[in-house]
């Protein structure tokens, strides 16, 4: 059966969007036109230049698998850069997250200071950190590890602080009533509650950092990114494709492994 309004009931009139909505839409469109022009966005150029891409593909296929051994070795270095960059940032990220979270720190000035440090570390891209550290320790994987430690401390510290902020207030109150101090509340109410989330975020960051270390390699931090850069400079696109296939494998393996563990953690 269907329900119909009795004819005496006045149906509310459809409402047009408020003028402010039109203004927002107009601004949105104008910004996109400006962006289109500034980026020289041109589908025509892409179509006209298809031969260039075809040549590139023709040169890169079939892949040159003679470099596979070298490629795999370098991929392991890339993995190691991502791994150390993640694990060595744990103590710094944890300390800053504990200071930055409302759940664990009551002094507003300490929260603000920790948040400022995290924002700074987060807003400097890892590639920029890498370029800075290259001047100190020279080209190579070590500069990449240092860059990731700094940038990842910023990102992971913020993610962890947010996870702590969202933790249930109840156990915190209950432990506070026993007379526990701030650090004791963090240790025995907040951290045990959020541990699965923290571990899940850690694995997610490992995944991201392994991919970042690839880009750092392009900037001279060694690993497989460095080999890709070299192949391009030497116009050995067939070698490059081998490296890229290895990268694909690496990324899929790390992604699947971290996804599997995160699922088991329920995070």
């Amino acid at each position: 059966m269907s329900v119909t309004a009795s004819p005496k009931l006045a149906v509310p009139r459809r409402r047009w969007p408020a003028p402010v909505v039109w203004v927002v839409v107009a601004v949105f469109l104008v910004v996109h036109v400006l962006a289109w022009q500034a980026t020289e966005f041109s589908p025509a150029a892409l179509i006209a230049g298809w031969e260039g891409m075809a040549d590139f593909l023709a040169e890169s296929l079939p892949p040159d698998f003679s470099v596979l051994g070298k490629s795999l070795e370098a991929a392991v270095i890339t993995l190691y850069i991502g791994l150390l960059g993640t694990t060595f940032s744990i103590p710094f990220a944890l300390a800053l997250a504990l200071l930055a979270s409302r759940a664990t720190t009551s002094a507003a000035w300490a929260q603000q200071a920790a948040r400022a440090v995290l924002s700074f570390l987060r807003s400097v891209p890892d590639v920029v950190f890498a370029l800075i550290f290259v001047t100190a320790v020279g080209l190579g994987p070590f500069a990449g590890v240092l860059a990731l430690v700094f940038h990842n401390t910023g990102v992971m510290g913020k993610l962890w602080a947010e996870a702590m902020d969202e933790s249930d207030r109840g156990p915190r109150d209950a432990v506070k009533v026993t007379g526990a101090s701030g650090p004791q509340i963090a240790l025995h109410a907040v951290l045990p509650t959020v541990m699965p989330s923290l571990a899940g975020l850690l694995l997610y960051r490992l995944d991201v950092n392994v991919r970042s270390s690839l880009v750092l390699g392009l900037a001279g931090a060694g690993g497989i990114g460095f080999l890709i850069n070299q192949s391009i400079k030497l116009f050995r696109f067939d070698e490059m494709v081998t490296h890229i296939l290895v990268v694909l494998l690496l990324v899929v393996v790390v992604d699947q492994a971290s996804g599997f563990v995160r699922k088991r953690l329920g995070a």
Partner: protein, 205 residues
């Protein structure tokens, strides 16, 4: 053991408590009854310091512990660790990373008192509601409390578990503790409490 005089508290202009008095002797079990918003929970929260009263005096002869309606254990930790956390107030930070052996022994004694020694190593999230509330009471015991404030301790429990928890609280009062419980069930209050205090809703501003 517990003396509250002229307690006043308002939240954002709404007066919840306006000169509340209560005194509880050792060994006495007092039930607080009253409609939602009459300030029953606020009284308890002011006593343990989770709220700061606007005025009045709270005197606790010893150590006040609190038991919550939502229990508030750390569900991922086992019962023993949760009970040990009651001792945090007397442990210096450097001894509180891992609970010392003497605290673990004392906590086992507290679990024995609530009849859950055999569940000591079970994660709290795997215990039933009634068992969880008894673990929370054991945590209060591990705090060496002589005043137990229970905020609707049985509202989330089935009738059988509720009776177990009420009998436990009654028995603790029998041991000489002062027990104050906010209840929503007048029949439980009449059955178990030595004294029932009815609170009226303050006029909403």
């Amino acid at each position: 053991m517990l003396a509250i005089r002229g307690l006043r508290k308002s939240f954002g202009g709404r007066t919840v408590l306006d000169g509340f008095d209560l005194s509880v002797e050792p060994g006495e079990f007092v039930a607080l009854l009253g409609p939602n918003g009459s300030g029953k929970s606020t009284v308890l929260r002011c006593v343990v310091g989770l709220e700061t009263p606007d005025g009045g005096e709270v005197e606790v002869g010893g150590n006040a512990a609190m038991v919550f309606q939502k229990i508030h254990l750390v569900g991922r930790r086992n019962a023993l660790d949760n009970v040990c956390s009651g001792a945090l107030g007397r442990l210096p930070l450097h001894r509180s990373f891992f609970f010392p052996q003497d605290v673990r022994e004392e906590a086992m004694g507290c679990l024995e008192r609530v009849g859950l020694v055999d569940r000591a190593l079970d994660r709290c999230a795997r215990l039933s509601g009634g068992q969880q509330q008894r673990v929370a009471i054991a945590r209060a015991l591990c705090q060496r409390a002589n005043v137990i404030l229970a905020d609707e301790p049985v509202s989330a429990l089935d009738p059988q578990a509720a009776v177990q928890v009420m009998e436990l609280l009654k028995a603790l009062a029998g041991d000489g503790m002062a027990v104050v419980a906010v209840l929503h069930q007048p029949e439980l209050a009449r059955t178990y409490a030595d004294r029932v205090v009815e609170m009226k809703a303050t006029v909403a501003a």
